[in-house]
């Protein structure tokens, strides 16, 4: 048990390297990886609780980056740091840098509203507004000054299509979103996040409140979205991380134990704790 506290972090630098992707054992394609988020010695405290310790991570553009770890290890705290939602908790204090496209998000000239317009978020529990489906999706664009009905109509339709829910709701756009099922509500929330055309989408256990069929739909959706967006997803469903993500970071007690290609984390982890966790020996 003694070495479990020890903070040796193994993170292979995954930025600017090449990912060797094997398609059915045929030929290797090379993809240039471009970092979108990079944290430098990021620390966070809730009062005296040192919830995140020296986090050094890099997430790449057009990839799905998964964050796994037992509950209470700081996954939500970390992902909410990326769009500064964590600052809604009054006792929060941070140290270190988080670079979004090489710009420190804590710098004064960068407002939180700007950041959150670029870095959208989908929450653990579906949280549609008590408004119509249309008004939910149009909310972001409207808040940012888009008023033209033609533009809004188009944005709403496109976002709902991209969130794979258009067919289910196209005849009831003006009904209250709270009348939908949980799985549908979550896809409305994804559509709502897509409507502002963000750069990055953060997802905090987006399927933990959903049934298996809705979960599959959301996972398929993430694969689709990867083409246009970068996604950071927290999950404590290991199969989900293995299925959908490109890289996986294993958090444990507030720090990153290991960050690597998902394949490596699940098949050949370097740290014993990672292996224990992904094989289900603790959690």
């Amino acid at each position: 048990m003694a070495n479990i506290k020890e903070k040796n972090t193994i993170t292979k630098p995954v930025d600017n390297t090449t990912l060797e992707e094997t398609t059915q054992g045929e030929k290797k394609t090379e993809i240039i990886r471009e970092p979108i988020f990079k944290t430098n010695n990021f620390n966070l405290w809730y009062g005296d609780n040192h919830a995140l310790q020296d986090i050094n991570l890099t997430f790449n553009k057009n990839e799905i980056s998964a964050i796994i770890g037992p509950s209470g290890c700081g996954k939500s705290t970390f992902v909410k740091s990326l769009n500064r939602m964590v600052e809604l908790v009054p006792v929060v204090r941070t140290e270190g840098e988080i670079l979004y496209r090489d710009q420190d998000i804590f710098e004064k000239k960068f407002t939180v509203e700007e950041l959150r317009t670029k870095v959208g978020m989908v929450f653990q529990k579906p949280n549609p507004f008590p408004k119509s489906i249309y008004d939910n999706v149009a909310y972001g664009p409207r808040v940012h000054g888009i008023r033209k009905k033609k533009v809004l109509d188009e944005v709403v339709e496109k976002s709902l299509c991209d969130a794979a829910i258009w067919d289910e709701v196209k005849d009831r756009l003006h009904e209250n979103a709270l009348g939908l099922s949980g799985g549908q509500q979550q896809r409305i929330c994804i559509a709502r996040a897509l409507a502002t055309e963000p750069d990055v989408i953060l997802m905090d256990e987006p399927t933990s409140a959903l049934d298996p069929i809705s979960t599959t739909k959301v996972e398929d959706l993430m694969q689709q979205l990867k083409k246009d967006y970068s996604i950071v997803v927290v999950t404590h469903n290991m199969q989900q991380a293995a299925r959908v993500s490109d890289t996986t970071a294993f958090f444990y007690q507030g720090y990153v134990v290991e960050h690597d290609e998902t394949k490596v984390i699940f098949e050949n982890p370097r740290d014993q704790r990672t292996e224990d966790y992904v094989s289900g020996r603790f959690g």
């Binding site: 939602m85 009054p90 929450f123 909310y139």
Partner: protein, 307 residues
């Protein structure tokens, strides 16, 4: 094993309890409940029967169409609009004054105030809500009216502005506290949804939280307005006793409640038209608050949001 046989003891105690008493409880509770229901029915019965007696003597049409209220004259005229206008003037002034302030306070308390500020301000609001209305009346005539007169000398001692403002002050805590409850019950996840899209706090408050809490807010306003319509002491002290249907807010007037107080504390001979007019005015007043009540129930059904 213990030395006691618990099951045996339970059996023994059970037989001591007396099942008869247990059966009596619902009957006793029903009687207690009936008291309030019966009281309501009794009051309504009195109001209606005595009002009917009034309309036996005086013209029904005149009552609801005339704007002259002259019960003492040798040719008395009972036109309720003079009193209704008095009530409406005070209520409208009170509402215009109290709604923005009450809502502002609710928004501050629910969305902006720290836990500490909340802990200090909420009890103060509750104290304000507990002040006897006679004290408010006193405050109106001794402080607000002289202050208004110093601003504009055309204001008479008894007027609608002073009474309306002070009735407004009286209902502010009600609006603030009930609206704050409604806004606080909007879940934080809803706010986060909005903030997460890059909306500012103010945008979130006005575009998400207020609409989500609207049924509670409207209900609080309706309740406060009912309270203002029924308010008696402040208007008796500060609004005067001159029934008139004019729109002038600077001169003396009389409200429905003001009239009832004046007559009941005075000399209406039993059996006179003046005596029976009390019940007709009371009935009208009741209709007003009854309608407000219906509106409030309709609104909270119509706009209720389920989370």
């Amino acid at each position: 094993m213990s030395n006691y046989n618990i099951q045996e003891m339970i059996q023994k105690n059970k037989s001591n309890k007396g099942a008869g008493f247990e059966k009596l409880i619902p009957v006793i509770l029903l009687i207690i409940t009936s008291i309030s229901v019966l009281a309501t029915i009794g009051i309504l019965y009195t109001l209606i029967s005595q009002s009917l007696e009034f309309f036996n003597r005086e013209s029904f049409v005149q009552f609801f169409t005339s704007a002259t209220w002259q019960p003492y004259s040798s040719e008395p005229e009972f036109g309720i609009w003079a009193l209704v206008m008095g009530t409406l003037k005070v209520v409208v002034i009170a509402t215009i004054f109290a709604v923005p302030i009450g809502l502002g306070a609710a928004i501050y308390l629910s969305e902006y105030a720290s836990e500490r500020a909340k802990k200090i301000i909420k009890p103060i609001l509750e104290v304000l809500a507990g002040i006897p209305t006679v004290v408010y009346g006193f405050f109106a005539i001794n402080f607000v009216t002289p202050f208004l007169q110093s601003l504009y000398s055309g204001i008479s001692l008894y007027n609608a502005v002073s009474a309306g403002l002070v009735v407004g002050i009286m209902i502010i805590p009600m609006i603030a506290s009930l609206s704050e409850d409604a806004m606080s019950s909007v879940p934080n996840s809803t706010r986060e949804g909005s903030l997460g899209l890059g909306a500012t706090k103010l945008e979130t408050t006005f575009k998400v939280v207020l609409p989500a809490a609207i049924s509670g807010i409207i209900a609080s306003v309706v309740l406060a307005v009912s309270r203002a319509i029924g308010e008696t002491m402040i208007v008796s002290i500060a609004a005067g006793s001159t029934p008139n249907a004019s729109l002038d807010i600077t001169s003396s007037l009389q409200t429905m409640t003001g009239f009832i107080v004046q007559i009941t504390s005075g000399d209406a001979a039993y059996g006179s038209s003046l005596y029976f007019s009390l019940f007709a005015v009371g009935m009208t007043l009741f209709l007003f608050t009854f309608v407000m009540n219906i509106i409030s129930q309709w609104v909270s059904k119509r706009f209720r949001e389920e989370y």
